[in-house]
């Protein structure tokens, strides 16, 4: 694209990064044990990415497209309901 057509200063609409898969470098992935999970949302608070997804009337799930596998959720979960599992 010519410099004349590009939007100056790379200004784009907000929220566009949700369209990108940014989890390719993950080594271990968090898996939630639904039986242990009380939906306390501590993982949702601590997750540095928007990778813990809340649901109306259901427990949290993980958005694996944006989870980078840092393991903070596993460390912070008070009920040990999250475990990090090696990616295949």
């Amino acid at each position: 694209m010519s410099w004349k057509e590009l939007e100056e200063a790379a200004v784009v609409k907000g929220g566009t990064s949700s369209a990108y898969v940014v989890s390719g470098w993950r080594v271990r992935k968090p898996v939630i044990d639904e039986a242990k999970c009380t939906n306390c949302l501590i993982c949702w608070i601590f997750c540095p990415e928007p990778a813990i997804v809340r649901h109306e009337g259901a427990k949290v799930t993980i958005d694996y497209d944006h989870c980078k596998g840092c393991g903070i959720c596993e460390t912070e979960c008070p009920l040990k309901a999250i475990s990090m599992v090696m990616e295949p």
Binding site: L6, A10, V11, V12, K13
Partner: protein, 394 residues
């Protein structure tokens, strides 16, 4: 009565003149951190806030990096933004300088030029700004206090022009100009307001309409974003001229992108920026009276570099002396020497150029020194590999 006749003459230090101009420019946000010799600017603005004479937001920050970061955020909302720094402060801003220019934020910054540590030094040279020379900021060098006052006002108009949208720095030597008290003919608030208008950026940061500024570029696009900045710099040359013309219309004052003194009748022309221009003119005047054909070309607008005007003014000179108040360590010549040599070569001119370094770390340059600097060209001491370190104790 004309505006000029109505102008109130007062005695102001360079730093005070900046603060006074900022107060009159309807600035929305100031975020700054004090550093010698720029401190008076921040102190004065804080005083104006306390006394209710400045109604903009004053953000006291914990560092220069934060100062410029706050300025970038404020500028993104469409506010008129000002900051000021010196030396280590400018160095600490370095990362954010590129963000401000890349995000096309028309922030205005006063830089009271001071040499860089180590060893620790408080006095003037241009090493701080030259270290950030390629950061994409417009760079103007003033040579007296009234020019500092006028240029501060002009910079907002220039930076905020939709054809430009680049941040700018107004440079003046620390202590020599920042603390020197000179006559300034103050202008009225109303014509300044009319001259400046209000910033009208294409995009504004607004929670109701979320935007992402400076989204990630790839090898496929980054080059073109840089090209946009280069083109904006080119536009700034014409807009600078326009700005000066409009400013002159109500103030009666004009400086030019370059200031030529006797370049028509001179065999030798010294190219210089900052307050040494006046010193060199005084030396030239005395030498002219003694029959020596010398002239002075003061570079006022350093980035974008007014190459066409520089070439035109040097066309008749038999030899050129460039004067750098900074050392580019290991380089074949100082930054101004490089710009001038490149300009001459590009214009098909081939005069000998004597590259002179002077005034480092606040080393004084007297009128008598000015005469000696002109003498260096006569002696033909130029070398392809290095600059003459004028005034250094060998």
């Amino acid at each position: 009565m004309t505006q000029m006749e109505a102008a109130k003459a007062v005695a102001l230090q360079g730093d005070e003149a900046v603060a006074e101009a900022v107060r009159q420019c309807d600035v929305d946000v100031v975020a700054a951190y004090p550093i010698t010799p720029q401190t008076i600017i921040v102190e004065k603005l804080a005083e104006f806030v306390a006394s209710g004479r400045f109604t903009g937001e004053f953000i006291p920050v914990e560092s220069e990096h934060s100062a410029l970061s706050a300025c970038v955020g404020a500028s993104a909302t469409g506010a008129r933004v000002f900051t000021a720094t010196s030396s280590q402060g400018l160095a600490y801003m370095h990362e954010m300088l590129y963000n401000a220019s890349g995000l096309r934020m028309p922030i205005v910054m006063a830089v009271a030029n001071r040499a860089l540590s180590a060893p620790l030094v408080l006095n003037a040279d241009h090493g701080d700004m030259m270290g950030s020379r390629d950061s994409g900021w417009i760079q103007v060098y003033a040579e007296n206090v009234e020019e500092i006052y006028d240029r501060t006002i002009q910079m907002f108009r220039l930076s905020e022009d939709p054809r430009v949208m680049l941040p700018s720095t107004l440079n003046f030597e620390g202590f020599i100009l920042s603390h020197d008290k000179e006559r300034v003919r103050l202008l009225d608030d109303e014509p300044i307001k009319k001259f400046l208008g209000r910033p009208a950026p294409k995009h504004r940061l607004d929670p109701k309409e979320p935007l992402s500024f400076g989204a990630m570029a790839s090898p496929d696009t980054y080059y073109e974003f840089r090209l946009q900045q280069a083109e904006a710099m080119r536009s700034a040359l014409a807009v600078f001229e326009e700005t000066e013309r409009e400013f002159e219309a109500f103030s009666g004052r004009r400086y030019g992108a370059v200031d030529a003194y006797n370049t028509d009748g001179a065999d030798r022309v010294a190219v210089v920026n900052g307050c040494a221009a006046g010193t060199m003119r005084a030396a030239a005047r005395a030498m002219n009276l003694g029959g020596e054909k010398v002239g002075v070309l003061a570079i006022k607008l350093y980035r974008p570099f007014p190459a066409r005007e520089v070439a035109a003014q040097l066309r008749r000179a038999k030899s050129v002396i460039t004067m750098d108040r900074s050392i580019s360590l290991g380089a074949p010549a100082g930054p101004i020497a490089q710009d001038v040599k490149s300009t001459l070569k590009g214009a098909g001119m081939n005069q000998p150029v004597t590259s002179v370094v002077y005034g480092i770390g606040g080393r004084d340059l007297s009128v008598e020194d000015g005469r000696k600097v002109f003498g260096l060209a006569k002696e033909g001491v130029s070398s392809a590999e290095t600059s003459v370190m004028y005034g250094a104790k060998q």
